[in-house]
Symmetry: C3
Subunit: 315 residues, 3 copies
């Protein structure tokens, strides 16, 4: 693997899942691989799971890790080419990325979208600038439009827990008070399209994801209808894509309850976390055996580890 | 040791002190014990000694360390059960603690009291929530009501420096401009009650600590009287417990001076640090050979190390 | 080496450069030297290159690294002797430095100048206080008046890239919207004075550096004149020294363009970074083969590594 920017960077989904599950059984099997290699983790936004699981994954591969919060610890970055930098930014991504490449063997970046400037977000200006100007592999720790480490985690989790060959997987929108990115929903959708599952998306009218992402995936506007016979219910809020970054409404009828879960085929409840209790999902669901969010979060380590391993192997 | 939440989690005070002193003589004796084990250090508040000494202790045991500042780096946590999370908190402690447990073998937490909500502080809602929802051992790096790593440090220091079998130890309140927690005073008191010392507390009227903590320990309202013949003078400010979190006054007559130290049995001056010079204590005392605050701070490493060691041994 | 506070702490400039270049060829040659040794990196200000390269250097020597941001993570420090600490500072440097010395084998500190209080800056109160009260070696990661790790980097870079025995090196002021410190310019000047180069400084009238630093170094007020036949053009903004910390003007005529570079002997463009594009220097220069800023930044690792190595050897 050269970079891990989107799920499209995966050679073979079944093979990478198999390899991740093997790492989970024996996490230190490749402890020599990362010796004298350094992972630089750069955060433009908050992180709990990604921060800790990626660091853990790197350490299990024997890597050294350097973590830097851009806001507060480093200089504010300029991404525009040709700009006259007499304002608030003091370092251009061209230098920053090239320089960090000399201190790190792999650079992992988290940079959320603006949710106000659709074009800027869609062109993934932070992540793509790192890719363009860095001389080492880049790992996406959630960018404006994609969260492929999460999607790989989810693929591992579904593979581990599925009870029939071709499970039904439903991605359901759920209400949330704030405008949230599309990254998790996008990458989950792309990943499900690569897997042997029956995949359906459900959300209120107006919350359609980028049609280039959803493609042929069926969209069902009736949540109850969509949940019928589901083996996995993947829940996530996102803001409007068409009316970009807007919260059109946060209809509580879309919150996942036990009644809704009763419509499924004893379906597993999944969420990338953090999750707002009793807004996205009822306590009764999240605290039930049907919820697999904790096991899911555990797989973050092995998703990150298999990605770092494949990149290290290609260095 | 399963957790280290308060000094009550210590099996045998003399034995753990002995073991800490042995680690101090040979800090890398158990370097293999922590191999492939990860300590997660979670900070809700500032820290210098605890941050660095605990990290050092873990590294001396061969552990990997991941440090996370909740404020600024992660998501704001919700601790209320059953709450509808449509406000400012975005992750519930139930998920956070359970998830972090999967990335770390031991979790250390620092979370100061509100000093405004006595009930919330007394129930130790942050620390106890971590204990409740985490699946790995929890180490208290100073909570609302206790600072047991500091108390163990103090016990080690007194054991190293005592010149008579049963030394007289005085815990004295001293003035401070801001409202400070009771954690250090509480844990020091609990620890002294477990040791073979003559222990006395002195403070102005109104500054009584939680009577459940002080129990039978004599309280002397005349500081000079209390200091007489003391071998160790442990100085600390705290706010009122009865009039919860209030600074009743900050009477400069209680500041520790050379005159006051002259009342002691060539007593050692102790303080957990940070200490406000010429407010809590005169420069002349702090810079005199009677002050042992620096040696005391050095023992923070070995207090943390012996606690982590005993926990690792019980995993 | 005992401390590394200024370039004057270098025994032999040619020897340390040679040793750094040898480390660059074989970065892990001294991996055992730092085993069980801890570097504490303390930041009072932002950092990207220094943060990552110094950490990387320490890891390549086998050291453990603890990074702490004073602002936000620790207590605000008091540096005045004899002060009554009833204000905003809660820990005195005397305790902080002495305590950290017990957790770290080497302490590295970054603390920028006030640029408002010349006397305070000139006495290097932060760095010197650490040196005074710490019991372990101190490394300057940029202080009020000096940035000797950068200067060593620059010396390595010039040595690697020079094409004649005694190259002409020009330090040129360039415009910048904000008031910047003199540290880089000072240390670069001191370093060039120790090297076998023809060294010239150029800047507008009023931007004279501290005459104690510049000494006999020729100052040319005509930038074009100064650049003639230069092998290395080291560009940096600084605020006025005489009218302390003031931006007298930021004359765009001093920006480095291709026309200006054409005056040189196919000169190399150097800058410590971060650099403001099209303010300090034109894109056309920075993106040309004449610019060596990225290679220069790479040498930060080996400058830090040779300094840490020499200090470790003297422990």
């Amino acid at each position: 693997m050269k970079h891990y920017l989107t799920t499209d960077d995966i050679d073979s989904v079944p093979k990478i899942i198999e390899e991740a599950i093997a790492l989970k059984k024996d996490p230190y099997q490749a402890e020599q691989l990362g010796k004298r290699k350094t992972l630089g983790m750069l955060f433009f936004n908050s992180s709990l799971r990604t921060r800790l699981s990626t660091q853990k994954a790197a350490m299990q591969l024997g890597m050294q890790v350097m973590v830097m919060n851009f806001s507060g610890e480093a200089w504010s970055l300029e991404f525009e080419d040709g700009s006259v930098m007499n304002g608030s930014t003091s370092e251009h991504i061209r230098e920053a990325a090239a320089v960090i490449s000399q201190y790190c063997d792999i650079i992992a970046v988290r940079a959320f979208p603006t949710l106000t400037d659709k074009d800027k977000d869609e062109e993934e200006y932070v992540l793509k600038s790192f890719q363009k100007y860095a001389s080492v592999p880049i790992v996406n720790m959630e960018s404006a439009t994609a969260h492929p480490l999460q999607a790989l985690t989810d693929a591992i989790t579904i593979t581990e827990l599925k009870t029939r060959k071709k499970p039904k997987v439903v991605l359901s929108w759920a209400p949330h008070p704030k405008a949230l990115p599309h990254a998790v929903a996008n990458s989950f959708t792309s990943m499900m399209q690569k897997m042997d599952v029956e995949f359906v998306i459900t959300h209120p009218v107006g919350y359609e994801l980028n049609p280039e992402v959803t493609g042929d995936t069926p969209i069902v506007y009736d949540q109850d209808e969509a949940l019928k016979d589901a083996d996995f219910v993947y829940v996530k809020n996102w803001s409007s894509y068409k009316d970009y970054g807007k919260v059109l409404h946060s209809d509580p009828a879309w919150r996942i309850s036990q009644d809704k879960m009763a419509l499924t085929n004893n379906g597993k409840f999944m969420h990338c976390l953090p999750v707002r209790r009793n807004v996205i999902v009822d306590d009764a669901v999240l605290d039930s055996p049907q919820s697999v969010v904790i096991q899911q979060a555990n797989n973050r380590t092995f998703a990150a580890q298999v990605v770092l391993k494949q990149i290290l192997e290609s260095l």
